[in-house]
Symmetry: C2
Subunit: 350 residues, 2 copies
DNA sequence: TTGTCGGATGCATTCGCATGCAGTTGACGC
DNA sequence: GCGTCAACTGCATGCGAATGCATCCGACAA
């Protein structure tokens, strides 16, 4: 049964040998016809191509990879697809890879699964490069990849001591920008909603935000959001506004949390931005839509994708062997979810 | 230079032969240790595993695939990632594939690129299955895949005559459901915003919607939206409401178009649902958020993903050779973007 | 005419692993 | 003590294509 199936497949599957036999040439010639740089006459190449098309022959990329040691596959690791931020990142990356003849192999670790666990699986596929978003790897794993000469890029995360490429928005600067902006609008009771504990992106945004506020002597309430989800933002916003001293501005560490927060507040009778200003971070398309019109720090998505691919060695520049960190500044999008408080009344009540 | 690089790699890359030499056994033994069903003593297996771990050996999936003819890769074709609908679909599929040891190879045709063009590329990767969303393939391509015994499933699309598996929400029924619902709310001037011309999903929804309305003698305005984008919905909504006879309900063929429409109307002073009811189709998470609170037909995402994988042969059931079409009913989510019109006044003016 | 050279092609090997088949070993029954 | 059998292991080969090397051929210069 199994053997007969295999036999049948062998008969059906068209290989380079088949084409060669039909044309009365060697298998090498077929191979050369499909290799741009190979030495072969134009006439022979067209003959091969014609016959190949007739027989339905397509080179087997798997077999080719075995020799060339290139799979033309880049692995991308994302924590989830439901956050539009990752959808945008994936979109940007894929759109750049495909024109270069590269395909995207997707890995979505299940919650609680460490990236370190899935990296071995991923390396087994002999991918030409790995892009890891919003997570980090152990230095042991980084070394394992380096040993195999598989380039790895952390996207949206960087670890100072780690010997690994990294591309990230400058989160500290982004936090500072937002603080500066909110201070300029005369907010005096800002709050920050953090994401997962230990997520450096969130911590950096927080530290930039808080330190800039402190420069002006402004205190900041820190609310632990939990994870980067709509629901977490929803809950955090309500907790904040039910305090005896509610904030006049809430800066969420992530757009999707801000969306949850805005929906929670509006559903509970708060008017945004009259009662409280709301700001986010990421700059996903949805943040610009009228329904939210969210002030946020927009990631330089294109630049980040370009930089990531360049560090992977897909750019025009020479491959940099030494681990490089690229910090790129985001752009503050001043939208309708925030408004200036008049200096004399620091709190507006509805 | 290039040769020395290769030589270095060969030295560095750990193969089964290396492990075998260190242990003083044959390469077959290494292979067997990594094959669950192979005949090998438990003691030897642990010895191999230990040494493999020490040397950092990982089986090369590419080489294995050459023999086993299984890559454990499923290709998924999506038109774009920016529509949350596809993000959800991709999420559901990936979450089911990974536990089965399967990885997802992503293909996003550039606008204007036919699926038929990229299928050959995709087949070169010797994927174990192909899932194509919201597009169809020529019957010639379907035959080419069948010949290679690569199962293909169309998701969210089906073509009656085509010899190919298909899983789709019952769009005609969905259209009828929505018509029934809006009629029950006493709407008398409904409009339908279509998507791309020739997209069967949109046409089916339209025909179901229109035919059910006609059953009650209700006319329907058809507005061509263009593509399935936020902007297309935005523009279409404005065109409709600027007519001399504006509708009292707008049914968009896609949630993302409805979002655009709602934002357009709200930005122009319309109150939803007081001035006009809005409905969508797909049931993406965002539709349930307070900002839109959109009445829509929710796709049975889980069931569709299950069905697709089953037809690919990843289910428990026997593989069905004959092309099967699974039509699954969606669920109408009755939300705040629609409201009942009192029978006596069929139009409300703001 | 002969030597040389470059382009085109074939041959043989290789990539890393899986697997059919044969060979080895030990346990067990008679 | 010997045959039988099962469990395990090694050998050799094959998967499909890329590529170094040798070969062949025609063109061209000497």
């Amino acid at each position: 049964m199994d053997e007969s199936t295999r036999a049948k497949r062998q008969r059906q599957r068209v290989t380079a040998d088949e084409v060669a036999r039909v044309l009365g040439v060697s298998q090498s010639t077929i191979s050369r016809a499909f290799t741009a740089t190979a030495s072969i006459s134009e006439e022979m190449r067209t003959r091969v191509m014609t016959t190949a098309a007739e027989l339905g022959y397509q080179p087997n990329v798997i077999a080719r990879s075995l020799m060339t040691r290139r799979t033309n596959i880049v692995a991308i690791v994302l924590p989830n697809l439901t956050d539009p931020f990752y959808a945008v990142v994936l979109d940007e990356l894929t759109q750049r890879l495909q024109p270069r003849g590269c395909q995207t192999l997707l890995f979505v670790p299940t919650p609680g699964q460490e990236v370190d666990e899935i990296l071995p699986t991923l390396l087994q596929y002999q991918v030409d490069g790995i892009i890891i978003t919003s997570a980090t790897v152990s230095s042991a794993m980084a070394r394992a990849c380096a040993k195999r000469e598989t380039p790895v890029v952390l996207l949206n995360r960087y670890v100072p001591g780690l010997e690994i490429h990294a591309v990230s928005c400058d989160n500290v600067a982004g936090g500072r920008q937002m603080a500066e902006f909110l201070l300029g609008q005369h907010h005096r009771r800002p709050a920050f909603v953090a994401g997962q504990l230990g997520a450096s992106t969130s911590m950096d945004r927080q530290s930039g935000f808080v330190s800039r506020l402190q420069d002006d002597g402004v205190e900041c309430v820190i609310e632990q959001g939990g994870d980067h989800t709509y629901q977490a933002g929803f809950d955090a916003a309500l907790r904040l506004m039910r305090r005896s001293d509610p904030p006049d501005a809430i800066f969420f560490t992530s757009d999707i949390m801000a969306f949850g927060g805005m929906d929670a507040l509006r559903s509970n009778g708060f008017i945004i931005p009259d009662h409280v200003s709301i700001a986010g971070f990421n700059g996903v398309p949805l943040a610009g839509w009228a329904a939210y019109d969210l002030t946020t720090i927009r990631h330089p998505f294109s630049q980040m994708a370009d930089a990531a691919l360049e560090l992977l060695g897909f750019g025009d520049a020479e491959v940099t062997q030494s681990p490089t960190t690229r910090l790129i500044h985001g752009t503050l999008m001043d939208r309708g979810s925030t408004m200036s408080r008049s200096p004399e009344r620091t709190r507006v009540r509805g």
